[in-house]
C-alpha cells in the first residue's frame, strides 16, 4: 500500500463496523458521485456477509411490505401472497437516495424502527447541499461516509476476513464501557449542536463495535474518537464554542455541575473536538450564519403539495405496470395491449370466456404534475427607494413580467410605502393589469419592511394552499424604519423585520432580495441572509441586468 488515505481507511472501518453490528448501527449513508472510488466501495459493500437487497426510490408498497402476487393469483385462481422486503431481514441498499420521497422515507423509517433485523445503506448521489437523502432516514443511521477527495489509487476493497468479523460479532455483547463514556459522547454531541439523542447512542454502539473489532474488552478513548468521527460530523450544526466565549456566555451551569459530580468530563477532550472539526463538511461553516437547509419546503415537495399541484395535470402516455394502490389503471390502453393477442390466447385456452387479459397487459395512467409558479414581487416604493431607483425597479419588474407571460407564470404584487404594505395585485395571469398597476405606483414615505414581509408571507401561504409554488422577489433598499404596527421606530422596525424574515425563511421558498440601495450597505445583505434568500446587489444596473439575474436566481 503505497498511498495510504485516512479518509478511505475510515470509510472501510465504517463498513467493518456495520458488518459487526448491523442491528445497533442501523446503517450507513454514503455520499459520493458515481466514480471509480465509489465503485470500489460498493464492491467492498457487496462482500459483506448476510443477505442484501438493492432497492430504488420508486419502490412500491407491495414490494416493500408484501401483498398479493397478482400474476400468480391470476394464473392459479387462488390467492397467492408474495413476501415483501420487510419479511426478510436484510441489508437494504437504497440507490439514488437523494430522490427518496417523504412517503417512502417514512415507511423505511418505520421499518427500521419496528424490525431490528434490517439495516439500510443509502447511496446518496446528491450534488447540491439541498439535494440529500431525507433527514428522517439519515438521522436514524449511525454511519456517514463521504468519498470526496479520496484518490482512486488509495481505494482498495480490503475488508477484514469474514472469520474475524464473526469473532468480533461474538465478542460484541461482552464489551464493557466506562460510565464516563456516555457522558463524553453526550457532551461532545451537544457541543456540536446535535440535538437528537439518537446520535450519542449510535456513537456508543459504534465505539463498542470498534472495540470488539480490535479485540479489546472495553471501550478506549480511541474507540470513542473513531465513533465520534464517523457519527457526528454529518449531524453537526455548529462549531464548538471557543473557551473564552464560554466564560462570558451565561449557560455555564451545566459545566459547573459537571465538574461538581466528578465522574463527568467538563469539556470534551480537545483532541476529540479537533478530530471531528477537521471532518466537518467545508460548507458547514458557510451555512452556520444562516441555518441548515430546510428539507421538504425547498421546492414544495411536501407530501401534500405535489399532488394538489395537479391544477393543470396533463395526461402522459400510459405505462405498463402493476396496480399498487397509487396509480389508476388505464382501461383503454390495457385493452389495446391485450387486443392483438386474443386470437392466440383463445387458442391456448378455448374454455375461457370473454377477454383474456394477462397481468402484463395492465397499463397505468400517468399525469404530469407540474405546479404553476407564482412570482410575488414586493416593491419598495418608500421615499428612500423612490428617490434612488423606483423607476429602475419598475423597469425590471416589467421585463420579468414579459418573461412570466412567456412561461405562463402568475404574478402578484405587493407595494410598501408610508406605514403599510398593500397587495396591489392579487395572483393573476392578467399581466397587462400588473403593468398598469406598476406604472401608476406612487413613491414616497417610510419603509414598512416588516409589514411587507408579513403581507408576502400571508400571500405565499395562501398561494401554497391553492397548489401554486410561490417564489419571492423583494426589491428594496432594506432601510426599515416603520414597525409592524405603523410606528416610526427604527430599532423596533429592525427587530420586527428580522423576526418576520425568519418566519419567511422557515417556509423555505425560493427568494431573492434585489438591492436597490443608492450606496451599497450591509442592510439588504443582512435581510437576504435572514430570509434565506439570495442577495443581488446591483450598484448601477439597467433593468435588463436585474431581469437576467432574477431568472438565474429563482431557477426555472
Amino acid at each position: 500500500m503505497s498511498r495510504e488515505s485516512p479518509a478511505w481507511a475510515r470509510a472501510l472501518r465504517a463498513l467493518t463496523l456495520l458488518a459487526i453490528d448491523p442491528e445497533g448501527l442501523r446503517g450507513l449513508t454514503l455520499r459520493a458521485r458515481a466514480g471509480p472510488v465509489r465503485q470500489v466501495f460498493e464492491t467492498a459493500l457487496a462482500r459483506l456477509a448476510g443477505p442484501a437487497r438493492r432497492i430504488h426510490p420508486d419502490l412500491s408498497d407491495t414490494q416493500l411490505f408484501g401483498g398479493a402476487d397478482i400474476a400468480a393469483t391470476l394464473a392459479r385462481g387462488k390467492l397467492v401472497r408474495a413476501p415483501g422486503l420487510a419479511d426478510h431481514p436484510a441489508r437494504l441498499v437504497l440507490t439514488m437516495a437523494e430522490r427518496t420521497r417523504p412517503g417512502l422515507a417514512a415507511r423505511l423509517a418505520q421499518l427500521l424502527d419496528s424490525s431490528p433485523g434490517h439495516a439500510l445503506v443509502l447511496l446518496d448521489e446528491g450534488i447540491e447541499a439541498e439535494e440529500a437523502a431525507p433527514i428522517t432516514l439519515t438521522e436514524r443511521l449511525a454511519l456517514y461516509v463521504s468519498l470526496e477527495g479520496i484518490h482512486h489509487a488509495a481505494a482498495k476493497p480490503l475488508l477484514p476476513a469474514p472469520a474475524d468479523l464473526a469473532t468480533a460479532r461474538a465478542r460484541l455483547a461482552m464489551i464493557r464501557h466506562a460510565p464516563g463514556d456516555i457522558a463524553t459522547l453526550a457532551v461532545l454531541a451537544q457541543s456540536f449542536g446535535i440535538d437528537s439523542l439518537r446520535a450519542p447512542l449510535l456513537a456508543l454502539r459504534a465505539a463498542r463495535a470498534n472495540a470488539a473489532f480490535l479485540g479489546q474488552d472495553e471501550v478506549t478513548p480511541d474507540d470513542l474518537r473513531l465513533a465520534a468521527e464517523l457519527v457526528y460530523p454529518s449531524r453537526a450544526t455548529q462549531m464548538p464554542q471557543e473557551p473564552e466565549q464560554q466564560e462570558q456566555s451565561p449557560p455555564e451551569e451545566p459545566q459547573d455541575q459537571a465538574q461538581a459530580s466528578s465522574d463527568l468530563p467538563d469539556i470534551p477532550d480537545d483532541i476529540l473536538v479537533d478530530a471531528i472539526a477537521a471532518l466537518l463538511p467545508p460548507a458547514l461553516l458557510d451555512q452556520l450564519s444562516q441555518t441548515r437547509p430546510n428539507r421538504g419546503a425547498a421546492t414544495g415537495s411536501g407530501a401534500g403539495q405535489r399532488r394538489k399541484a395537479l391544477q393543470r395535470g396533463r395526461p402522459l402516455p400510459a405505462r405498463p405496470g402493476t396496480p399498487d394502490g397509487r396509480a389508476r389503471i388505464d382501461i383503454i390502453a390495457t385493452l389495446r395491449a391485450a387486443a392483438p393477442w386474443q386470437g392466440a390466447r383463445r387458442a391456448a385456452r378455448p374454455e375461457a370466456k370473454g377477454l383474456i387479459i394477462h397481468p402484463g397487459d395492465i397499463h397505468l395512467r400517468r399525469y404530469e404534475d407540474r405546479s404553476d409558479r407564482l412570482l410575488i414581487f414586493a416593491v419598495d416604493a418608500s421615499g428612500s427607494a423612490a428617490m434612488a431607483r423606483l423607476a429602475e425597479a419598475k423597469g425590471a419588474v416589467e421585463l420579468l413580467l414579459a418573461q412570466a407571460y412567456a412561461r405562463r407564470d402568475r404574478v402578484a404584487m405587493i407595494a410598501f410605502r408610508g406605514t403599510t404594505a398593500d397587495v396591489i395585485l392579487a395572483p393573476t395571469r392578467a399581466l397587462a393589469q400588473a403593468k398598469r398597476q406598476l406604472a401608476g405606483l406612487p413613491g414616497g414615505g417610510g419603509t414598512p419592511l416588516a409589514s411587507a414581509l408579513e403581507a408576502t408571507l400571508a400571500l405565499a401561504r395562501q398561494a401554497q394552499g391553492q397548489g401554486l409554488s410561490p417564489a419571492i422577489a423583494f426589491l428594496t433598499d432594506a432601510r426599515a424604519n416603520i414597525t409592524l404596527d405603523g410606528q416610526g421606530d427604527r430599532t423596533q422596525a429592525a427587530e420586527d423585520t428580522k423576526r418576520l424574515a425568519g418566519l419567511l425563511r422557515a417556509q423555505g421558498l425560493p427568494a431573492i432580495v434585489i438591492d436597490t440601495a443608492m450606496r451599497p450597505g450591509p442592510a439588504p445583505a443582512q435581510l437576504a441572509a435572514d430570509m434565506g434568500a439570495r442577495h443581488l446587489p446591483l450598484p448601477r444596473a439597467d433593468a435588463r441586468m436585474i431581469s437576467t439575474a432574477v431568472t438565474a436566481a429563482l431557477g426555472d
Partner: protein, 334 residues
Amino acid sequence: MTAPFPFSAIVGQDDMKLAMILTAVEPGLGGVLVFGDRGTGKSTAVRALAALLPPIRMVAGSPVNAETPEDTPDWAAAPSDEIVERPTPVVDLPLGVTEDRVTGALDIERALTRGEKAFEPGLLARANRGYLYIDEVNLLEDHIVDLLLDVAQSGENVVEREGLSIRHAARFVLVGSGNPEEGELRPQLLDRFGLSVEVRSPTDIEQRIEVIRRRDAYESDTDAFMTRWQAEDSVIRKAILAARQGLRGVITPDEILRDCATLCTAIGADGLRGELTLLRAGRALAAYHGEAALERSHLRAVGPLALCHRLRRDPLDEAGSATRITRAMDEVWG
C-alpha cells in the same frame, strides 16, 4: 418482536407523558398532537404507553378488534365465540398512504379470484380500541387528515364506494407527531386535536446522559431492564385503571365551569371545543390523582396542554404558546 421501552423509564418529557396518560384515562379527549425535535422519544412514548395498558379482550380473528361476537360487523366472516387477549393495538399510519388503505376498500384479491364483492378493512379497523399513530402528521395529505379527524370524532368509519356500503366502529386515540420546521398544520386541524404538547430535546446535560444510559441499558440487556422498571410501570397502569373507574364519579363544581369559560374567553379561543377539552382533561387528571372533585389546580396543570394550540397565531410573540396560556391563567384566576 422485542418488548417496547418501558413508559416509566422515559426521562423527562413530563408534559408528553401526562398528555398520553390522560388520553388513556379518557379516550374521548380527542387525541394528542406532539410537535417537536427529532429523537425526543415521541414514538417511543406512544408504543410504551400501549404496552403499558392492560391487554384488550377481543373476539378471535375479528378484523375490528370487536369486544363481543355481537359487535362484529356483518360484513366480516362469521365471528368465532372464542375470546382472546391482545395487547392494545398501535397502528402506524405511513405517509403517502392512500384513502383505500385507511378506510378500507373493495377486496381486490377476492374480487379477482372468486368474483365476490367483499370489503377489505383498512387501518382504521385495525386501530379500533387502540391507538393510531401518525408520524410527521404535518406532511400527511390534507384529505387524509380530514378523514381521520372526522372518524376519530364520530367513532365510526363509514365507507360508501365501489358499490360497497359499510360501517364499522373505529374508536381510537389519534396521536400525531411532527416537526414544525417542516410545515405547519392548518388551524382547523390543530383545533380538532384534544391535547397538544411541544417537546424539545433536553438541554440539561445530566438529563441527556441519563437518557442515553437508560437506552443503552435497555438495548444491551432488555430483559433485565424490563424487570427493573416493571414495578414503576405497574404503578402507572393501576392508576390509569383506577382513574377509568373513578372518572364518572368526579364532581365538577359550577365555579370550575365558570373558570373554564373565563379562561377561554380571555385567550380568545374560537368555538367551545377549548372549554370542553379543558374540562375533560381536568377531570381525567383529577381521576388519575384519585381525587373526588375537580379543582382549579387540575385545570392549571392541563391548561397549556388543552389550549396552547387553540390560540390565534401571533407571529411576533416568541414566548411559546404554553407560556402565554400560563400567563393568561395567572391573569384571569389570580
